[in-house]
Amino acid sequence: MDSQAIATHPEQEQAEHEHSPYLRHHFANLEQQKETSTFGMWLFLLTEIMFFGGLFTAYLIYRNWYYPAFVAGSHQLSIGLGAFNTAVLICSSFTMAMGVHAAEMRWRKPLVGWLLATLFLGCVFLGVKAIEYHEKWEKHHVPGLNFSAEGFTKLDPHYPEDKPLPLDMAEKTQVYFSLYFAMTGMHALHMVIGVSLLIILVVRAWGGAYTQGHMTTVENFGLYWHFVDIVWIFLFPLLYLISRHQ
């Protein structure tokens, strides 16, 4: 039961109120309340789509503009780690969907189990991301803090077909890495928020909060988690894959 319901129904311990404790008074019935909350959640997610969409648009335009720098920059990412993280996120979306199913079926322990699995996979993703960021730092690929274009002006033994860039274009790899950090950083922030919310959900699910009829919270959190997965589904090909052959 949420705090609003507790505030409006202090007597609910003695029970036998005329409607269910999690129906708020400004809704006619549970169906309307549920529909409203899903609608609101989707509106929020649409603002998120616009937000990440701006970053994607910036990436596409700058990629056309400083094409050789973007190709050279993306060759510095590890496709293996990126693909692993993509698989981890897809697994976590699956465990989250199964969690929502468990809540629908009112299975308390399976719900807690699926949420814990999602939490674990979210942490694995963030751990791999931290390894990748650390590698960027060591290679001096962090614009503004620790950057050197030197590596791009010489022939890279890992990419013998990559021609060394002229110095001015080599400097433009900073645009690529800035966008890389902005996009994956905003995505990672969303993951951190998601993982934090998940911890709360696990605790409350253990107490039976979502398996006695009320489960909108779990379902809406699921929408958020899947959305973050979708953002990564686009980040992975754009940042890691599409320049492999140019």
Partner: protein, 112 residues
């Protein structure tokens, strides 16, 4: 599991797909498809398709996103209001990105 009483049924928040709780089997199939598509997109990136590397990668990403939205996010089983909201959002996003790209491409029209 014991049968729900009439009161419990009335007090249960309806899922949008009350008549249709998505079965774990559907989730499993979608999950497998998503992993398969991920492997495909990684494999395709190692094949030199020239300009089509981008097209293939984005097409696969869009397909994966649609699968997640329709099944994991239950839009396929949702009310018309939810479907309309989601569709309107993506159409607006597409219009904005198209206008931005059109402007960008046509700025230097005829100067190359």
């Amino acid at each position: 599991m014991s049968e729900l009483t009439q009161k419990e049924i009335l007090d249960t928040e309806p899922t949008h797909h009350a008549e249709h709780i998505v079965s774990p089997r559907v989730y499993g199939i979608i999950f497998g498809t998503l992993l398969l598509l991920t492997a495909t997109t990684v494999g395709a990136s190692y094949v030199d398709l020239y300009a089509f590397n981008v097209v293939v990668a984005l097409a696969i990403a869009c397909l994966k996103a649609v699968l997640v939205i329709l099944f994991f996010m239950h839009v396929k089983y949702s009310s018309r209001l939810t479907k309309l909201t989601v569709a309107a959002g993506f159409v607006t996003f597409f219009v904005l990105i198209t206008m931005a790209m059109t402007d960008y491409i046509s700025r230097a029209w005829g100067m190359w």
